[in-house]
Symmetry: C2
Subunit: 246 residues, 2 copies
C-alpha cells in the first residue's frame, strides 16, 4: 500500500538524540506538533507511526541508527550539514534531510522563526512533508542538495566557528588589561547587523582594508610573543588586501 502523507493534526514527530540540536528542535516544535524526544540507545518511548523521525545524532552514528529504523513506516530525516542524503537509503522508501543552519547551545535561547532550514528529500511527497514541518517554527525554508549542504557547512565554519575564534583572540588580548572583554560585543553585533545592508566585501573596514601599513606593523609587533596569532593576523590581512583588489 502507498504511504499516505496526509494526517490529522497535530503532526507526530519523534526526535532521536540527546544533544543540543535534539533539545532545541523539540523546544521549537513545542505546542505545534506532538513531539517526543527519544534516547538513541534504547529508542524507547517513540510514538506509534510518527509522521517524521528526526535523527539528531553525530554524523558517524546516522547510518547505523537509520538501519535500526528499517521496519518503521515513517519518514526518516537526518539533520547534518555534511552527511549525504544517500546515508539513509537503507531506512526504507521515505527519507530526507532537515538541516537547520544554526548553533545550538544548552540553556541559551534562540529565535526559532529565523533559523534557515535546508531540505533534501527522496521524493516530492517527502519534500512537501519536510517543508510543512519546518514551517511549524520557521519562515526560512530552502532546498539544498548534498553538495550545496556541504558548502553551507563549510561556510558556517568560517561564519560561526571561526568568528567565535576571532572573538576568543580579542577576549584574550583584553584579558591582560583590567577591561571587561564583553565591551567587544556591541561592536561584534554591529559587524553582523551591517551585513543586512551591505555585503561583507563592501563592509570591510580596518587597517588591512585601508592599506594602513603603519598600524599593521604596530599590531604585528604587539603580537610578537605569539607566532600563532601573528600568522593568523598576517594571513587574514593578506586575504582582505587581495579580496579588495579584485
Amino acid at each position: 500500500m502507498e504511504k499516505n502523507f496526509e494526517s490529522g493534526n497535530p503532526r507526530k514527530i519523534a526526535i532521536i538524540g540527546r544533544g543540543n540540536v535534539a533539545t532545541h528542535l523539540s523546544e521549537a516544535f513545542k505546542g505545534k506538533a506532538d513531539v517526543c524526544l527519544v534516547n538513541p540507545h534504547t529508542l524507547e518511548g517513540i510514538q506509534e507511526e510518527p509522521d517524521l523521525i528526526l535523527l539528531c545524532v553525530s554524523d558517524d552514528a546516522i547510518e547505523a541508527l537509520s538501519r535500526k529504523l528499517h521496519d518503521i513506516d515513517s519518514v526518516v530525516a537526518h539533520t547534518s550539514g555534511s552527511v549525504s542524503l544517500s546515508a539513509l537509503k537503507d531506512t526504507g522508501k521515505h527519507y530526507g534531510v532537515f538541516y537547520p543552519l544554526q548553533t545550538f547551545t544548552k540553556n541559551i535561547p534562540l529565535n526559532y522563526s529565523e533559523i534557515p532550514v535546508f531540505i533534501e528529500a527522496s521524493s516530492p511527497e517527502v519534500k512537501n512533508l519536510l517543508y510543512e514541518i519546518a514551517s511549524l517554527f520557521t519562515n526560512s525554508i530552502h532546498s539544498a542538495g548534498s553538495e550545496e549542504r556541504r558548502k553551507l557547512h563549510l561556510a558556517s565554519v568560517f561564519a560561526c566557528n571561526f568568528t567565535n575564534a576571532m572573538a576568543n583572540i580579542g577576549f584574550n588580548i583584553l584579558s591582560e588589561t583590567g577591561i571587561d572583554p564583553k565591551v567587544l560585543l556591541p561592536l561584534m553585533r554591529q559587524t553582523v547587523d551591517k551585513l543586512k545592508w551591505q555585503n561583507p566585501g563592501q563592509a570591510q573596514t580596518g587597517p588591512a582594508a585601508r592599506g594602513d601599513i603603519g598600524t599593521i606593523g604596530k599590531h604585528l609587533d604587539m603580537l610578537k610573543d605569539s607566532p600563532e596569532l601573528r600568522e593568523i593576523y598576517s594571513e587574514i590581512t593578506r586575504f582582505i588586501s587581495s579580496s579588495l583588489k579584485i
Copy 2:
C-alpha cells in the same frame, strides 16, 4: 585665569571631521548638546568657546590639526584607538581621548546607548568633562590609558574586521551555489549573542573543537583551489585546537 569646566546647559561640542565617526557622533549628541559639525580643512563654523572639540579625523591628521587649535581655550580630544594622548600635548593645557569602540558606517543605524567609550585625560577635570559628555548618549563609559587603548584597537581588529573577513569567505563559498548568503546571518548573530552568557573559550564549537579530523580533511579538500583560504582554515583550526588544550 583657571579654566572653568562648569557651564550652562547644553554643552557646546564642535566635532571636526567629515567621515562616519564625525557624522555618527553628531547624530548621537543630537538634541542632547549644542553640536556643530566642522570641516577639518576650513575649520569654519566652529562655535564660540565650545566646551569640547572632538577630532574625528584620520590618525595621521590628528597632531597637525591639534596644533591649529592652539589658541582655543576648549578641551580638545581625539577619537582614535591607536594614537597616544601625548599627540595632543601641543594643543594647550586641556586635552584627552574619547574613543568609541564601534564600527561606524554611513546610513547604517546604531544603538548609541550601547557604545563603549574609553576615556583618557590630561587632568581629572578633563576626565570629568569627558565622562559627562559621553554619558549624554551611552551607559558604557570606561577609563583606558594609551597602552590599554592600543590593545582594545588590536582586539577590535580581530573581533570586527576579521569577523567581517570570515563572513566574506562564507559568502564567497555560497556564491557558487544558488543560495542567498544572507542565510548565514542568523547563525552569525547567535554566535555573537551567545557570548553574553558564555566566554568564547566555552562557546567554541565545530570540527576543530571536536577534533573531527575527517570533516577538517573534507573541508581542506573543498578548498583545494584556494591556497589562501586553506592556509586561513588550517591556522584557525590549529588555534582552536591548541586553545582548547590549555
